[in-house]
Each structure stands twice: as structure tokens, then as C-alpha cells.
Amino acid sequence: MATASGELGIIGGIAARFRTCPVTRLRVDLAAERLIKANAVAAVVFLAIGGLMGLLVALTRWPAVHLLDSEAFYQVLTLHGLNVLLFWIIFFEIAILYFASAVLLNCRLATPRLAWAGFGLMVMGALLTDWAVLQGDSSVMFTSYVPMQASPNFYLGLILFAVGALVGCAVFFGTLVIAREERTYEGSVPLVTFGAITAAIIAVFTIASGAIILIPTWLWSLGYIGHIDTLMYKLVWWGMGHSSQQINVSAHVAVWYAIAAILLGAKPLSEKVSRTAFFLYILFLQLACAHHLLVEPGLSAEWKVFNTSYALYLAVLGSMIHGMTVPGSIEAAQRRNGYVHGMFEWLRKAPWDNPAFAGMFLSLVMFGFIGGISGVVLGTEQLNIMMHNTLYVPGHFHGTVVAGTTLAFMALTYLVLPLIFRRRVIWPTLAKWQPYLFGIGAAGISLFMLGAGTLGVPRRHWDITLSDAILSFDFQPAAYLMLGLNGLFALLATVGGILYVLVTVGTVLFGEKVTEENALAALGPMPARVAEAGGSAQVGRHGGEGLVHLPGTYVLVGVFFVAFALYYFVNWKYLSELWPIS
């Protein structure tokens, strides 16, 4: 491939080396490409560490196995949260930011050296925090609620990591400015880049909240500050903790759109609607710190109701819109590709044997049905009384962050490998099964934790037999069954996770090089497409043009809505049977 060594492009007086992507014809800044690779590799390393910790947690919760002793359990649970929820996801998101700016906008990356410095800070911070937890005196969980105290290095590591991520966001914004200045694209940025901008804006807010609370807490752990108010800590900490999950939502929704576009040629049904939905995230998602404060003393009911609902559920509205427009754009594209029979031919004949598509669609469905519905119920002020701090909470966020975000990022990896690492995925059969194993495993983990939480089982708890407690209590046998099934599905997800790491690492090291000739095939199976180049008149200039009906999508969202409403009312019924409290 002639372009592999890179051509020298001088833009705006600054030299950057580019290659031309054989699939998209976009010019790829080699500095950006190296940074995307580094961040993606770091992400996978932390996923492997954190995922292993997750398996140990599930095997300890499984009553028949009860693997670890209590001290190790709390330590491993702390590591699990940090490594997957923070390190894996944020490294991958930085890679996405660089991809969505430099690559999609056909532009050079702003200040690659600064980006490397940010990467270095993130790696140092992550290692420092992990090291602090491994010392054994910082088993304070991911949330590190005061007045429980970790060693100063625990907080310092998180601060360094956050500063590094902030640098990454700055490089992303800088790249947007350069692309605009140097006119590397025409009109508006692509929708995927718009989603990435949403994620980055929320990230800045998130990191600022983190700095506001973690810096004083670090000083407190060093003895310079005497007292940190427990309620204030939670309020500000969750300004980081929950909002950072909204970075994930924005990023993985952008990933859904990207995969649908690359594999199926899907266009957004309406740019206006999809962008407005992202914009709702920017305006309202930050209010979600209230989700963690619904049964706290000292906060008014008005504050709780307004914030927990993201104003008037306007951010939920954003997600419900994406939940329709993403499958809708896929249906529209598939119908244009010729799959017009019946209600669901477009879906049946979608490339289910392409792990990028399978992972993306499973992520979409499970994020909506499991993570989304349980999140709204959990975040309803009064219903939260039945669920706060039970296993329902991790049940919910494994539906969003594992079945949703992680699976979407895994799916994207199968496109990143040929497009950025320029290697063909080795072991395509294993890769084909990977999203199903991981996705079904993650779904089981979520559902059985939701079930155990409904039965009152506490989260972050080593021994639900309570055998060492002075005053004993027996949870229902069904709770034990739920935890056993949770363990089984964790094993399944682990197999999926190991396959992911094996396929990824194997491909990067030993995969066949992607050339000009096999570039398209390297993306995996995809449906035959109506010609794109120059064909826009017949294809339609936006995804919904000329289409009156998307019957399959309407049925899907209809099923979703019915499930949502039923589950919502069932929980109010449960609540009405509770002891009266006021």
C-alpha cells in the first residue's frame, strides 16, 4: 500500500504525516492514529484487569463458591469499579474523541505532544490508584465516601488521571478548531462527531466536579483539611460519578450511529432530531447526581423530584429518541439495500455474523430494555426507597455500562482493528461468537442482580448469609438462586471478555495486513449496498427521505414502550404495599 508510509501534508504551516484510508478515502493523521492505538491498547489492558476482578466478585457472591475472604473481596471490588468503570471506558473514549475529530474531519490532530502528555498522566494516575488499593489500606470502593479514608495516593492517582483526560478533551476541542480553520470538511460536523462533542462537553463538566471534590479530599487525607461534609461530598462526587456515565451514553450512542453508517450505509433519519437528542444530553444529564441522593437526609423533595427527572425527563427523552432513530436509520438503510419484505426482513438479514453489527445491535437493545428502563424506575424519587443501595443498583448499571457501553465499544473495536490498526481480525469465528457470549453474559449479570436487589439483597456485601452478625437474618432462598445465576452468567461474560482480549491482541500482533484490495472485506460480512458514490439522489439525502413507513422500528419501539410502562406501574404497586412512611 503506497500510502502506508504516509505522505507529508503541510496545512496551515504545520507539517503532519497522513495516509489515505482505502475504505473511507479519508486522510488519516499518523500522529492521531498512534494516539488512538495507544489509548485503545491501554483501554483493553485495564478491561482485562478490571474484568478479571469482576469475575472474582461474582464468584464470591455466588454462595456455593464464596471464593474470596472478606478483606480481599472489598479490595477486589474497589479495583473492579476503578479499572472498568473509569480506566477502560475513559481510555477508550479518548480514542473515540481522537477518531471522531482528526479522522472523521479529515484533519491533523492538535498538539500531539500534549496529547501524549495527557496519555502519560492518565496511565500514571491509573497505576498510582491501583497501587494504592493493592497496598490494602484503600479498600474504600469506587465512591470513597467520606469519612472513610483512603491513602493520599488513591486520590492523587484519580486527580492525575482526570487531568490527563481533561488534556485529551482539550486536544479534541483544539482539533475541531483546526478542522474549521483549515476547512477540512464542509458544512456541519458529522453526527458521530457531534455525539463525541456532546461526550466531551459533559466530560469537562464531569472532570471539573471531580476536581472540586477530589482535591479537597486529597488534602483532607494529607491532614491539611479537618472535615469534609458527607452530604456535600456525595452531591459533588456524583456530579462526577453519574455524569461520567453520561459521557458513556453519548459516546456509545455515537458509536451505534458510526457502526450503522460504516457497515450498512445508514444515514440519520433526521439530522435535526438526532442532534437535538444529543443536545438534550448536554442540557440535562448533569442533574443525575440526584439519582444517588434520593433517600438522603437534608435535601428537599422539590430538589429531588426536579433533578432526578432531568428536569421533565428531557434527557430520557433524548435516549428514547435515539432508541428509535438508530434502529430506524438501520431499517431505512436496509430497505434501500433491498430488504423490503415484511416487517422484519431488514433485521433478519442484517449482518448478524459480523461482530461489529451484532455487538452494536445487542448493545442498543439491552441498553434500552435493561439499563434504560431499570434506570428510570430506580431514579424515581419514591421508588428508590425500595432499591437504594441494593443489588438493584449494580444490576442497573451493568445493563447500561457493560451490556450498553462496553459491548458497543467492543463492537467498534472490530472496525478499529482493520481501519486504524490495519490488521484483519484473526479467528473470525471466535470473533463472531464473542459479542453474543459477552452480551448474554452481561444481560444475565444485570437481570439477576436486579432480581436479587428487588429481594432486598445489599450491594457491596461479602456475605448475605450474615453468618457473622450478632443479629441474624435470612434472605429468601430465591436471593441465593439469583446470586448463583449471576455467577454463572459472569462466567459466560468472562469467556466473552477473554475472547475479546485474545482476538484483539492476536489481531494487533499477528493479523494479516490490510491492503488496498482487501480493505473492504476486512470489515467483515456486510449486506450488498446500493451504490453510494454519486448515488445520493436516488438514495435520498437524509435517511428518512421518501420513506413513509418504518414498520419494524415502530413495532420495536412499541414493544419497548409497553414493557417500560408495565414495569413502571408494577413498581408503584410494590411501593403502595410498603409500610407507610412520611
Partner: protein, 184 residues
Amino acid sequence: MAVRSPEVRIWWNEPVARGELLWIFIAFLWGLFMFFMMIYWHINGNQNLSTETYRVKPDDFVAKVESFVEKYKVGEEGDTGVPVVAPPPGSDVYMLARLWEFWPVLQLEKGQSYRLHLSSADWQHGFSLQPVNINIQVHPGYEHVLTITPTETGVFSVVCNEYCGAGHHTMTGRIRVVESGAGR
């Protein structure tokens, strides 16, 4: 395509398909409904968490609970040495969360209301009443006062569901509910 710039520069003026508009409308109405449902429940529901809260020094709260126990103690829970306290219906009752117990055991009467004061002597804890499944966060320095009305008799457990260090999984408490009048 979502990975390219929109082909129509002024995409804001593109028409939106009717099905899409309908879904947005339904989703918006559903959001409004869910919002007003919470407010409705504040007016007509029986399960709303009180927001009555006072700042309190942890030591002062411990002293209050101790005098409460002294006043209404009726015995001990089995051979555990944990006091059982039977306060009169309608009165202020106290439960202290500390590493690693909920103290004391309360004996309440079915169908009677009590003003329950919750606070912590040290770290944060989670008051999780089982198998009823009422869950409330307990902070040191904040005295949370809520009214509860047991509707069934029996032995109920309080399990800590906020991680509170090495002994977290040993932290429990108990509330006994007896028939109205039986405790006096």
C-alpha cells in the same frame, strides 16, 4: 451517513417523518406523566420520605440514643446483650448506626406511627429494613426524622447496605413489631 457531514447544509429545515414526530410526542408525554406521578404520590401516596433533618454532633446523638434506651428498655435480645426498647406509640424513637451495629432493638406496635430518628456515630451506613425493603441512607452529623407505621407483626431485620469497612457484612439490627397494646 453519520460519519460524514450532512449533505444538506441547512439540515435544520429538513422535514421530519411523521412516525418519528409521533414517537417524540409520545416519549415527551410519557416523561411529563412520570414527572407528575412523583408529585401526585407526594399528595396522595403513603410512602414519601421525610426531609426533616437536623445537624447533630455524632456524640450528642449517641447520648440521646443512650438516654432513650435507658428510659424505655424492656429487656435484652436473646443472649446477645443488645437492649430491646419499647417506646410508647406515637413517640420519638431512635436508632443509632455505628461500626458495626444498628442499636438498639426496637419493639413497635402494629398500626401505630413512630417518629424514627436515624443518624450515625461514625461513617455512613445504609438502613435497609428487611424483608420489607425500605432503604435509607444514614449520615454522621445529620439527624433524619421520619414517621414509620408498621403494618404487620413479626421480627424484621435492619441490614447495613452502605459499605462501611471491614465488618460491613456483620452490621445488622432488628425491629420487632407486636400487636397493638401487646407491648404495654
